[in-house]
């Protein structure tokens, strides 16, 4: 029993947590690619920016003496989402819209988004320093749930932290909301039409300017949600999301750029694969040790990939996907 709990703890939970973050980020990347046709590299730093906005608001609210059963950063999330969405729109108007108006190539926009990445990162570090911060205020504690499986013969508990549970709910709510938005509302349908064929959408009378605006608002909101949830689960650092922007791209590409559902699947796939790749199989195989043929022993570490190469897994998946099916598993768009 312990072995199964260990497997669930190490693979299912940590893979799903990582996968949810990747999925939230990848949806934003994929939406922007679908509508605007460029790889928005600054998405990771938009996540970090959102997390810092939430952090500032939480500190403000905390200073007013307000407390809540969930972390304050989670309470102020709606406001942080609005602020980040507006910031995302302003970034577009300031840095990408002029280039689009000139008819710049997608790769020029990709390089411009690298410039934006550097600016956001530089500003965050200028203002907040480069140290690590705790998303929880001093008076708050990270609540950790331990589910006992003694009645099934297990001795170890199943471990889940409060931010992880919140994260699952937020991801689920986002995905459901996005699904209904894209399939049931006028704006959502307009977005899908624009993503399918920009010229045709324009000719059919869809206000593509409005579609672009809404896309940035949604992408900014999702970035803020993903960044804040990630910062709650780990810690708040200026390079919080810069380090995972490549796995996020891997997730978006694996799912097929432009395909929101593919991005979710890609995110979960990469999250779970990373967890599986560094999983130490010895712990699970230990009960079978006595049945091994004479003279054979279980090695201490039977992980497929050494832990220090964990991030490499996402890139290997990315490269293999690009080679084997360049437009993603679910067939994405092309520029």
């Amino acid at each position: 029993m312990d072995e199964i709990i260990f497997l669930v703890n190490k693979v299912v939970i940590s893979g799903a947590v990582l996968g949810s973050i990747y999925a939230l980020g990848a949806i934003g990347v994929t939406l922007i690619f679908g509508i605007l046709r460029f790889a928005h590299f600054a998405h990771g730093d938009m996540m970090t920016m959102g997390a810092f906005v939430a952090f500032l608001l939480a500190a403000l609210v905390g200073a007013m003496g307000i407390t809540a059963p969930v972390p304050l950063a989670f309470v102020v999330l709606p406001l942080a989402v609005v602020i980040t969405a507006v910031l995302a729109l302003l970034i577009d108007r300031g840095f990408y819209a002029p280039l689009r108006a000139r008819g710049a190539k997608p790769v020029t926009l990709l390089i411009a988004s690298i410039g934006v990445t550097l600016m956001i990162q530089g500003l965050i570090r200028l203002v907040f320093g480069s140290g690590t911060r705790n998303m929880y205020l001093d008076i708050e504690d990270k609540i950790i749930f331990r589910m006992d499986f003694g009645w099934l013969g297990g001795t170890r508990p199943l471990v889940l932290s409060q931010p992880q549970i919140l994260m699952f709910f937020v991801t689920l709510a986002c995905i459901t909301g996005l699904h209904f938005f894209l399939t049931r509302t006028r704006m959502g349908k307009a977005m899908r039409a624009t993503s399918d064929n920009l010229d045709l959408a324009q000719v059919s009378g869809i206000n593509t300017q409005q579609v672009v605006t809404v896309t940035w608002l949604i992408a900014g909101s999702l970035a803020c949600l993903a960044g804040t949830m990630l910062a709650l689960d780990v810690n708040l650092r200026p390079d919080l999301a810069f380090n995972i922007v490549l796995p996020i791209f891997a997730a978006a590409i694996v799912g097929g750029l432009g395909n929101a559902y593919g991005a979710i699947a890609g995110g979960l796939l990469i999250g779970v694969t990373e967890a599986l790749a560094v999983f130490n199989w010895t712990a699970v195989l230990r009960p079978f040790a006595p049945y091994l043929p004479f003279g054979m022993e279980l090695p201490a570490n039977l992980a497929l990939v050494p832990t220090e190469y964990k991030l490499t897994v996402a890139f290997v998946i990315l490269v293999i996907t690009l080679l084997w099916r360049p437009t993603g598993i679910f067939r994405g768009l092309s520029t």
Binding site: F38, A39, F95, P98, L99, R102, A104, K105, P106, V107, T108, L110, I111, A112, I114, G115, V116, T117, L118, M119, I120, Q121, G122, L123, R125, L126, G129, S130, L246, F249, A250, I253, P306, E308, Y309, L311, T312, A314, F315, V316, L318, V319, L322, L323, P326, S334, T335
Partner: protein, 439 residues
């Protein structure tokens, strides 16, 4: 490509700028900057071959610099006798055999179609072969690595002259670039950019974690110099201040020889039929293919050539700073910085790439003391009005360069997308209405 008037003015302004910085920062500092700039100019030249000549989006520069640096250390660092006296070489030999066996297995699986096994079955066989080869290799390399790390630390170097190390860095990087190029060059531009960023991270994690080969995060130091070092000069009676300047001057001379040779060759290639063919492929690869050019092979050629310069530049940087510290490599400092150099300078124009390299490197380095100056004054002001001083000024102002770099590239893309010295396209048949390249 002969420099035109704009180029001459730009370089004259650059020389004035560098001289002014020299007056401000002193000869020791500016000689350090110039040495770095020469190495970065070589790297920018490499990117200009790939992006400017061929339009290839290589974002794996950091990976190539790291591999070049590590190769240089392997060839030029003094021999580690502990390693050669231990069982390490034998274990590594076995790992090499396992590697060869694995490679043969994969190659064999790929040839299965000759025995009538085709389609899906062959695909599955190749997958299994890869997996088995991986397990076989891991079963040999893991104990070897653990043994070397516990007995002799790492394998050390070969103790050759550093310039040989630079040349070998070019060779090894060329080999790796060929593999990477073969895999990725078929991809569309933005996919290629993302794939190379990923590959660069893979290369980084290898250099960082193969402690037995590169010493990983423990860092290797001091990497030997090809010219007399300050302490050698001090031993013969040069004063301490002067010794640094003279030692660096010697190094700069050596760098300059390599750089000028590379620049002349690359520049001549641009104007020749080879360069024209590359530009034709860049601007319209379909038409170039129709004219009988082998686009894939030519692009691979460019990719490898550019990467060689990057590898050599990376090796020079390591030799100059005398330390290989894999944790010091960041995409911002080593990939994006070079991209900003080439774009701001003028992609496709070698003079522009070099101008960009010098200018951007100086801006990058000098934004730190400038920000410090600004912050100190601001802090004095906030203290005077009772808000208290700004904490951690040093670490904050170091981050200013990241912001400045981002700002520079945003401004450049918006207002000077062709760069400071744009590519000059000679129109041989204006009546045919050739479009000016770029945009």
């Amino acid at each position: 490509m002969i420099p035109d008037r704009r180029t001459l003015y730009a370089f004259a302004a650059l020389i004035v700028f560098v001289t002014l910085v020299g007056v401000w920062q002193g000869p020791a500092n500016v000689s350090l900057l110039i040495a770095h700039t020469l190495a970065y100019s070589l790297i920018a030249l490499g990117l200009n071959i790939q992006f400017g000549y061929g339009g290839l989006f290589n974002f794996a520069i950091m990976g190539f610099l790291m591999v070049g640096g590590a190769t240089n250390v392997f060839f030029s660092f003094p021999i580690n006798p502990d390693f050669w006296a231990s069982d390490g070489p034998m274990l590594l030999g076995r790992a090499l055999l396992a590697f060869v066996a694995g490679a043969l297995l994969v190659l064999g699986a790929r040839r299965l179609d000759r025995f009538g096994i085709k389609g899906k079955a062959r695909g599955i066989a190749i997958g299994i072969a890869w997996f088995v080869a991986y397990l076989v290799y891991r079963s040999q390399i893991d104990p070897a690595a653990a043994y070397i790390e516990s007995t002799s630390g790492w394998i050390g170097g070969l103790g050759l002259y550093p310039v040989i190390g630079w040349a070998m860095a070019g060779v090894v990087v060329a080999f790796i670039a060929r593999i990477i190029g073969k895999i990725t060059l078929g991809l569309r531009s933005d996919y290629l950019a993302i794939a190379t960023i990923g590959i660069s991270e893979i290369l980084r994690s290898f250099v960082k974690n193969m402690d037995w080969l590169t010493r990983g995060t423990l860092a290797v130091s001091p990497v030997p110099w090809p010219v007399p070092q300050p302490q050698n000069l001090q031993a013969v009676g040069v004063s301490i201040d002067d010794s640094f300047v003279y030692a660096r001057l010697g190094f700069i001379l050596l760098l300059a020889v390599v750089f000028v040779a590379a620049f002349v060759l690359v520049n001549r290639a641009y104007g020749g039929p080879w360069g024209r063919m590359m530009r034709a492929i860049r601007d319209n690869h379909v038409a170039a293919e129709a004219m009988g050019k082998n686009v894939r092979v030519r692009q691979l050629e460019l990719f490898v050539l550019g990467s060689i310069l990057m590898g050599i530049g990376g090796a020079m940087l390591v030799t100059f700073s005398q330390i290989l510290d894999p944790s010091g490599y960041q995409p911002i400092n080593h990939t994006f910085l070079v991209w900003v150099m080439v774009i701001v300078g003028g992609a496709g124009n070698n003079w522009g790439a070099v101008l960009g390299a010098v200018l951007i490197y100086f801006i990058w380095i000098l934004s730190d003391p400038l920000a410090q100056f600004l912050f100190l004054n601001l802090s004095r002001w906030t203290e005077a009005i009772g808000w208290g001083a700004i904490p951690e000024i040093d670490s904050r102002s170091l981050q200013m360069r990241v912001f400045v770099l981002g700002l520079v590239i945003s401004i450049a893309l918006r207002y000077a997308p062709q760069g400071l010295i744009p590519e000059i396209v000679h129109k041989h048949h204006p009546e045919l209405g050739h479009k000016k390249a770029g945009a």
